[in-house]
Symmetry: C2
């Protein structure tokens, strides 16, 4: 493509309302233009990226045996009433009334429509399994659309729906989709993790989310660098320490902590590590018989409570944090100095696995302005009534799969696969006849990829102060040729055209910047829009038969012989 025949409209500044790097950069690069709240036009530059993502998604879906179809965006209310979701979906569903006063919605998802097709088309077990997908514009009326294409109201989605006779077949297609999704994100050059997920409102059992890793992600993830383990931090297991509890070496003693109410401050005062301190979190839990009980949850000073895990401990199912008054009532001590030593039978102590192996630790003394040091279970206080995993994982923890250590990151959800089981098929009476002529309900899976969101997520993962760093597979152009003095030098023009033609002939997506702009403008534009490879052709270099080459991620340009540059590029691509 010649830049003079394309539409490049970069901007120095992004509008105020753009918060995320990807949103700012997409606007500055001229990839998208805002039409209204959560509504964006994909300009030619942006659409090239979107179409590349779409093509990879389509290829992998086809390879996985899914069959593409295209359902209407506008869906009748009646189908949604069969599953009860017309009411459930709420204002996020954009409702429409047509000229005949019939109710429709702009489809936010297509389970109802595809299940309606399945129940009308599928008669026999012989037709199953089937996996249909589409790439389509969806609409979700977000209450506060933001982050550009990352949470737009109108967006492009790939949604697939599979139908099966049994769970085994569903699991097989689910695994195939898991692999297809991995292929998509690998081919797009994205760092991602598949995370086991709650199935939430959509129902069903097995479910994984695919997250692109990026600092701005909305989800906190734990993953293992040396395996494919990943989980939401809230759900990631902290393994029990492999080392046993050390022997008590110190005597228990009170230490003055006049103003020190946190483990950090106490450790600093005493000159010890946080790992030698224990924090006590006071909570109240109500038993089935209605009685309430006061608990102290013990965590190592450098750890934080994971409430989801804590609620899984027997007796703590519905716990809440204790009030200051409840703490004083049970421990006769203000918060900041409480601890598990010498408590009455009214208090139950639950220790995190990490605390259970500690010895000679420091904790609150249950007396104002005092802590205890050299504390040991069994000697100074009873063993806890329960030892459990009740903390959030931290960087450096052992990976639950035993294959390395955990790192923390944030993720942007770009894909989600579900085992819906019979939720929709049962609600909509989608059945088939089995080998014995008996009518059975279909098993069902669904598989979504946020095609347009991937573009934003990729930019969140790849950007620097100069602009976007696209993976090669997603870049709007793979190579930029930026001739210096294009309008003035015939030699530059001839060399640029020859190289352009050669790269085009090799099937490489090349942009020739023939706009006659100053070098600074060209370089800034090509860096901003994230083109992976740049070749500078100028009279000065040409005298020696040389050009300059720089990859988008290189710190500096290198000199390459004009005769070699096409080869270098073909090699790199």
């Amino acid at each position: 493509m010649r830049a003079s025949q394309f539409f490049i409209a970069t901007q120095k500044e992004a509008p105020q309302e753009a918060e995320l790097p990807s949103h700012k950069l997409m606007l500055r690069a001229g990839m998208i233009k805002r039409l209204g709240s959560g509504l964006y036009t994909w300009m030619p530059l942006g659409l090239r990226v979107l179409r590349k993502v779409e093509a990879v998604v389509r290829e992998e879906m086809n390879r996985a045996g899914a069959l593409e179809l295209l359902m209407p965006a506008v869906q009748p209310k009646e189908l949604w009433e069969e599953t009860g979701r017309w009411a459930v979906f709420g204002p996020q569903m954009l409702k429409i009334r047509d000229r005949h006063e019939r109710d429709f919605c702009f489809g936010p998802t297509h389970e109802e429509v595809i299940t309606d097709i399945a129940r009308r088309e599928i008669r026999s077990y012989k037709q199953l399994p089937l996996n249909f997908y589409q790439v389509q514009t969806k609409f979700r009326d977000e209450i506060r659309p933001r982050f550009g294409v990352m949470r737009a109201r109108e967006f492009m989605m790939k949604d697939a729906y599979s139908f099966h006779t049994d769970l085994e077949s569903l699991q097989k297609t689910y695994d195939t989709m898991y692999q297809a999704y991995s292929n998509v994100f690998n081919r797009l050059g994205l760092k991602f993790r598949a995370v086991r997920a709650d199935t939430g409102a959509i129902g069903g059992d097995g479910s994984h989310e695919f997250h692109v890793l990026a600092d701005s992600g909305e989800d906190a993830l734990a993953y293992c660098e040396s395996s494919d383990f990943a989980a939401n931090v809230e759900l990631a297991e902290a393994l029990a320490p492999v080392s046993a509890r050390g022997e008590a070496k110190e005597v228990m003693r009170e230490v003055d902590t006049p103003k020190q109410t946190s483990c950090e401050d106490v450790a600093a005062l005493l000159g010890i590590t946080l790992q030698q301190t224990v924090k006590s979190i006071a909570v109240m839990a109500t038993a089935e018989d209605g009685s309430t009980r006061f608990y102290l949850l013990l965590l190592r000073g450098d750890h934080t409570l994971n409430e989801i895990k804590a609620a899984k401990v027997a007796g703590l199912e519905n716990f809440r944090f204790a009030s200051e008054q409840e703490i004083r009532d049970h421990l006769n001590c203000p918060p900041g100095f409480i601890g598990p030593v010498g408590v009455s039978g009214q208090v139950s102590v639950v220790a995190d696995r990490s605390v259970a192996v500690m010895s000679d630790f420091v904790c609150g003394a249950n007396k104002p302005k005092l802590h205890l040091a050299g504390v040991n279970f069994g000697r100074d206080l009873p063993e806890p009534v329960a030892v459990a995993d009740i903390r959030n994982v931290v960087e450096g923890d052992a990976s639950p799969d035993g294959k390395g250590t955990i790192r923390l990151c944030r993720g942007i959800e770009v894909g989600h696969i579900f085992q819906l089981r019979t939720k929709y098929a049962a609600a909509m009476d989608a059945g088939y006849l089995d080998e014995n002529g008996q009518r059975q309900t279909m098993e069902m899976g669904c598989y979504g990829i946020g095609v347009s969101r991937i573009v934003g997520a990729a930019i969140e993962q790849g950007n620097d102060e100069r602009g976007i760093i696209f993976p090669a597979a997603m870049a709007p152009f793979t190579v930029a040729i930026t001739p210096i003095g294009y309008d003035k030098s015939e030699a530059v023009q001839a060399a640029a055209h020859a190289l352009y033609d050669e790269l085009l002939a090799a099937g490489i997506d090349v942009l020739l910047d023939d706009r006659g702009e100053r070098p600074g403008v060209m370089f800034a534009d090509m860096e901003l829009i994230g083109i992976p490879h740049r070749i500078v052709i100028g009279d000065r270099g040409l005298k020696d038969g040389q050009v300059e080459y720089q990859a988008r991620t290189d710190a500096a340009a290198q000199t390459v012989a004009l005769a070699d540059i096409a080869g270098v590029i073909k090699q790199a691509v």
Copy 2:
């Protein structure tokens, strides 16, 4: 593609509500499924066809230098109010209110959105011309959707919009688009004509409609087989006869026509041709001063009145047909026997060009049950006050471009190109700075193709009692291999697989019918869905190293050596 891994769901009967062949056949072939009124799912088989059309459209748009973008389907009311079309569009526009009670529509077209982009993006004449296009789902809330995808409410459209500094530039892009559209329809293998069109409500000057020729089309067209002339019958000019009026040879005389009130009946009674008769059509027209006048419009007996043309005759601008009473008042004669001879000064006679050259003709006598024969202008009645083209063209008329004779047909509009001029740019203040730094309003063109409608139109043009006859470029698969006894014969299976692999390797879109169905079922399916080439492989033929080959349009199959069949197909494709 193997049929066992695809989704083929043909039906013997189409639903009652399907009227047109294309609608019936698309439903029977399982290409589309109805979701609601004017809402269709494109099933995998149909989507393959749609995508092939889409790809050709996209390639030709790109080749013509148009830049693809993608605008939102959902558009804010405010933009439509700037052009006044929010009110004008009426109930055909699907209106939407979002959760914040703001008004939107599901875009039926995108002039407002693209003009908004243009006015924000284009500053200088240096950026022009520009031509943007998109391939997108549109919605028009037709009051009575029917004919399947031919007039669906939700449909796929390619819409392009160009921006220019002046009319000359607009005309150049318009011509480029005209050529691109011709390329699209030629490449798709469709018989079509470009027809000069009224610009109608959208405004502007130059406009052509592209029609696929098919008996079921909604528009009556006149076209020339030996040139690219085509026009709506309503607008096609009937040239003046080249021969001059003959000399009067007969005397004028009354002939009895007791029951004959039509030219057909009179001609039959008198044993003359319709071409020797003249019919008189009585109309009333109101002059600018409010006075009304009675006219007789004379047409040759075999011609019909073209009201649009007649209204262009001076004085007839707002004519209406006369009532029986008005006829009796002015001619003292009942309808059926009226004519132009001996009328009073209150009656004006206007003759069609064909009538003006007639001599010795037959017309009504203005007396009940009588006609006049041997009538001649100048001798028996004055020359008409006006001679004009006021008739519809008929087959055999000379083509207005002088390159052959006219044929009549019906057409399905699948494309439309407009010169919008400054209609939208002026309304929305879309300007640019010219060479002199002066602000000017942009010239604009728009260019639409009904992508999904093309599929229906192609089937209207190509079908027979066995099903669809797709042009090769649009067929869901190019070749079908139908092995007989696939499940039973290893030889058949081996030959089928080898041929399948060979054709696939040659880049040919081949369907292997490995469903194990009976030959009759396979043949009927492949014919119904319109696959251009079919190869039958069976044990009987294989013994002699032979297979059967039949093109979809062939009357019978021919025997081809197995060794040669791949070559035959590659040749044919």
